[in-house]
Symmetry: D3
Subunit: 339 residues, 6 copies
């Protein structure tokens, strides 16, 4: 039986240069709809769940188009509100080889960013939900968005809705309004059942450094600190990414739980990468699917990693693959044409 | 000998849906660089003049690309400044038949809009200039931009640089910040030698209605009122546009001067329109070219009208045609392939 | 309060040559989702109604994508079923000037065409519906589809759901299986409250000729015959199309009712046509919207005509415009850029 | 039974700006294969004839691709030779409204232009042919090409192969090498059975002016002079083109024969023009088809005119329509979608 | 001296999603013409042979376009017949990294599939031929196609035309009509001189398992079984493909002959793959070219492998490279720009 | 303080097949502006220098567009002259995997190639310059261009402007006019301060072979010979390129100076290559930037290598990256998305 997951966050338009070009090297943009939480919603919808997006979009054709794109992928958009304001945008310069991709945010003053916390009637929005998914991008957008995220997490906790939180720490966004990242993030994570975060996210939140020699140890130390700081937190999961070049990464995943279990997957070589944006959101969606559908932690972690790897093969922010596609990779990894 | 014309205003990116589609009907935008005053600068550069753009662009790849596009068309961009802020955008839904084109502005908070008037050292910026060209879009962007435009016009007047002003009244922009359009516009027009405006622009500025039966009479009445209100104003010119459908307009032009001359051209059928954006700016550039290069008022008006008509045949905001192209249409209007 | 309209029919992919080319003149197809009844559903959804599509799509990525496209435009797709079979396709050669557009159907053996009538549980599918919309394309697809359409119309009549039927007579489809068009169509129309049809449709159904000198008289005679033959039929509406060239049509509309009223609109010149496909479906959706929302017959007819005219300005099979867009044209017809 | 027509001339690549843009306004070219005589060959092949192209192409991938494109359309390319040299090119700026299209030739030094007349073994090349088609573009390319064209026409005459010649006078090409246009053209036309030419072509060839008031009289006077000057010439045919704008022409056709018959068609409005290039070649191919297939002069002329009109609806240099498509327009001119 | 090779099979259109997208992720298809046997014909034509395609295409613009595409690449299409029916299609989802490409066949009811065996007059079709090439796709399409393939092979054997057969076992196609794959394939292979097949193909045909530890041993065992079962079979050749990821394969080749010779090439790394479709057909064409042109078995095998490797670098189903291109790779493998 | 570098050479249009296709596999060209010396000018302009292009372009829209493109990227184009003649072109077949990219030059008879040496007033053109950059492509174009390059180098030497020369030996170009490459190149290099060349370039110039076992030794021997032959030459720099496949190269760099210093960088793996054209020019620009801005030889070499590596990630001939982008790679090489 499908679960209902409510995702709260900003839906954005990505305007990307085509074909590894610089921005406006030729006079066109390829457009994708995205947003950290919407990416999770779309992936969960493709996994067969009832995923709903909560948020505010501008009352103009761009907002309508973005909502339509979510609907196209099976997301319940009935709770999205139209308000005055502009559409949140980001421009993407797709990188290659040794030239990193660059994201240029243009989301200040968006309808989402200027929405009032009182615009959200959380008890009603969460009615019937099994999970609430949030990410650290939302509080980074400003005080109003941070307050709304805290309200959402608190309401979920009160209503018995489980809370999933993806760290997604974005320095530039926090710096732009000099928000109190640690304080605000702690108020959200305090309600979280599962946290998608690496040691850098935890370092920001707890004001500690994790300087262990290898990344696994840093994650483990960060997880231990998180479990201590957040007594309701059950699990912490993260991918571990090695970057050989812009086009070639290797990815593994690690999940720890309060009860002391640690699961670590093997590593997959990902090359040549088609589109890396949204890979973290795909991981979160994959792990959530695994947990929701009753997989063991180990299987859920492997499912999440496979989903994340597969996302790199798809243009756009969304992971459009279904459960069978992900399972096929988990099971065997066959790579010839399927006819 | 070419003249030097300084154009002051915001440079924008147009993001348009391809091929008469609705916004995001397919996931791509065609991008053009534009802006009322930049359009004039580009056209004057193609007419062989020394045209310089003054303004502020964001210190990011979009701003750099926009400046590059002006440079590509021969505009002197050395006075453009890079400042923090976002790039001014507008989204264009290209219309057809009975469905009007729509412009969705997204320029709030742009680097240009938030620039300080003190950012512009007008005596230096106007050194060596013969003309300053401004339009009513700039003061409509907010108090800072309005102040800058007034400062520019005043400095030009003081320095003996002639001032050209294009009304370009945009209700939505003024309404967004509840600016005192009449008061601010009057302070600019007070310095203008030539005004591109129709009776609606004058009505706003002077708070009068011009309800004559035909459009020529309304223009004449508005011009008379303008000459009375602005003692330094020498000429008023405007196109008269009849709209049979979105794709089929007819265009004539009218110019009046303080000394009582009135010139009226014949009308050209324009069908099917390729791109109507920037046609008014092309008219202004054409008339300015005519006057600057010593044509009679009548010839300058016909040149301006021809330039405006020809703009409708070109995708994008800019008129890319040269003096010979415009003259060929003024003289004869031959329409078969030139081999 | 929005009404619920159930549309039953095949959802198709249109594969069209780009830019007025012949098929495969260059190696690409532009793809649109369409289908006579789905076009009505999409338009009604954009008019704010609760429009649901009923039918069968293949259980493959093409079927899923087609359903997603309907959902994107706000259509309720929960009743669409996935079944083995192929996706119905049509290839479009876009015409120009004196060269007519051509449709090449490739829908034999589609999942819709081979669906069993028993696949549709009409009482359940029609629960809560105000209207059922059908068209003559469905029975033309074969005996199974014809039986399903008859069952739908009959069930609607039984359940007090009003029935709208659009003639859409397609000779080639009927000829392909030598179906008894008159007999089958009569069984559907027998249940119809409103019929969108011209004299040619009625001639087929009733086996009569309507050879009056002018098209208005032919429609009137056909309507009279229809009202006589189908005692439950309340209204007959049609557009009257004059074709000056492939790119230039003129369109008016006529509606007659059983109580003897006749409404005739003025004529609109439509030039240059962007995409004529779906214009009839837009007319039906517009008239239905008018009637459903309580407009007078005259206003509903004018609304339907305006919707149909506006469709010609949009690429693809769907009319994506909303009530305000249509009303703006009905009221005034202003054709300059809206800023 | 199909006839065999040998077409001799240069095959070119057209590099055109997309979508009514100026050259390199955006960084792409749309490519078409063309050439006055190849256009005739392609059209005749689509009309069901055995059409062969004779000429020289560069021994590089561009030459191979051009030959392949002719073959794709059914032209016999076995007699095309590969030789060192470059590919003949032309750049097309597609015009619109009042801005004429422009052709920028870049064919100097092409493999065709530098081919030796001795490269062509005319008796062998003409074996089995019913007609040889040439145009005035070939001798305009230089002395070698002119000599080859004269040799071809002379050989055809000697072998009893009928000769068709299309004037196609191109001032720029003749001026570039200061060739003796009248002298060279006369030596070709001396062998022609049918001449596609208007009064301007004849004026060049005979050094006379035709200054009659209307175009029909000018054609008639030119034809009379041509029949007198060229005793073997049987027919002269031409289109008469009225240009309302770049997008809207009207076209009729006129044919005169040595025995004193004059045929004049009605006029067709052509709007909006998709691609005017090759319309004259389509006329020639249409008239030739008519004559070859035993139509009366009047019918052949109407067929040629219809073919030429229809060409305006097709992107590229070629008329891709078949006999039935042309006949459908001649007979009735129906303009709605064919389903 | 070129040989004449007759290829018999269905010509298909490939409709592929652009740029690694999912089907209809954006609304466009890239179109290629293909088909296992047509791919061989095109490659052999580019190698300088007289390659003819035999088969049936629908009597519509798609069929005509497909034939034109073959002609463009030098294939003799005079024996292709036009018949009622639909065009065989396949949809391609291009994979990447860990996401396999997927082929969605849509060829049921195609003009080829419903053609009668009696439509083919084999003695006439094979007149003058040196080789007949067939593949296992054709009998998989249904009884009629299987009968035609058997008739072709038998007629070739009778006429002294050598027979080449490529296994190309497609489970989905055979399953769709529950055809007797082993029985039908045996009747074709019985006439084959050369068989392109791996151990899986032979396993199907002979109903045996080949479970040797390494792929070379499996091929050897299968070849031995095939030589025993088919006394006229002279050679068996296959590629051996290792799949590191969707974008990175390694390819070697192995050929065995009845007289006991075994040839094995080295392995080439192929990364990143541009288009893997048609690589097997390119191998067959390359080996056939080698054998036909008198190369040793070892050289023919290396030529075939090189041709297959190179195909991976070309978009579309066809290998468009010529003998010199393939030789350049066989000889040296230099990878910098050739200027 | 920025330096002024004058680059002298031909500006070309690249017409490339899109997406790894063969030329005209689909009917489109992607267009880029390039040219060995212009590439250097563009890169230096992006590095913040005052880079000026000297040369001749055709007096047509293509020449104007090419100049505009240089201007767009900040190059001073005021010294470019418009003259009769054609635009120099090259066609690019983009390779992949084992299929090398191919350049098909089409620059014979270009306005640059036919320009008179007297067209260049070198003292004036070099006034204020710090460096003159030339390459071996220019003298390869014919005697006139060779004479101009020699005159430029001589004038620079006389005026105290440093001279940079990039070998760029192109056999096909020299062979086409049988020019005396060694003699002409020596007269240029005689004036050079820095030479970008490998052992093959030196071998041509000095008529010696360098057959040492490894490439470093060959470069060292060639450098020694060059320092001996050209007493004013201060430095020789080159990249060392290992080609694993068309898509995967490894690149290091080596620079030697007259005073006996040798610097060798480490090697970077470059995979998958987006566009290799212009990588050598980017190296030259990078090294020049380093030297001009006072870096040590070692740092300049590493900067040049980084610039060259990064160029492989950008479509087109130009390196559009700035100093900070290059430094980021030199310093650390981080490859994840920058947000």
């Amino acid at each position: 039986m499908p679960s209902r997951i409510v995702c709260f966050g900003e839906v954005l338009l990505r305007l990307g240069a085509p074909g590894r070009q610089m921005l406006l090297q030729s006079p066109a943009f390829e457009v994708h709809v995205g947003g950290a939480e919407a990416n999770v919603a779309v992936s969960l919808a493709h996994f067969g769940h009832e995923a709903a997006q909560v948020g505010v979009l501008p009352d103009n054709p761009l907002g309508a188009a973005a909502a339509g794109e979510l609907r196209r992928h099976g997301v319940d958009t009935r709770a999205l509100r139209s308000r005055p304001g502009r559409m949140g945008l980001y421009f993407l310069v797709p990188g290659a080889i040794h030239r990193p991709s660059e994201v240029l945010y243009d989301r200040a003053g968006s309808a989402f960013a200027v929405a009032e916390p009182s615009d959200y009637d959380w008890p009603s929005l969460l009615a019937g939900a099994d999970w609430l998914h949030l990410s650290g991008v939302t509080p980074a957008l400003g005080q109003r968005a941070a307050d709304a995220a805290i309200a959402a997490a608190t309401a979920a906790r009160a209503a018995g809705v489980k809370v999933s939180f993806d760290g997604n720490y974005r320095t530039k966004l926090w710096d732009a309004w000099k928000g109190d990242a640690p304080g605000l993030l702690r108020r959200i994570i305090d309600n979280a059942d599962i946290l998608f975060a690496d040691h850098r996210d935890i370092a920001v939140v707890l004001g500690k450094e994790f300087a262990q020699a290898d990344s696994e140890s840093r994650v483990d130390a960060a997880a231990a600190a998180a479990f201590e700081a957040f007594p309701r937190l059950g699990r912490l999961a993260t991918t571990l990414r090695t970057q050989h070049s812009v086009d070639h990464h290797a990815l593994s995943a690690r999940m720890l739980s309060r009860d002391g279990q640690t699961h670590q997957t093997g590593s997959h070589e990902i090359s040549p990468i088609v589109d890396r944006i949204g890979a973290g959101d795909s991981f979160a969606a994959g792990v959530l699917h695994g947990l929701i559908s009753g997989q063991s932690d180990e299987d859920a972690l492997r499912f999440g990693l496979a989903a994340s790897c597969l996302k790199h093969s798809l243009p756009g922010d969304f992971n459009l693959l279904g459960v069978e596609d992900v399972r096929a990779f988990v099971k065997q990894g066959r790579f010839d044409v399927r006819r």
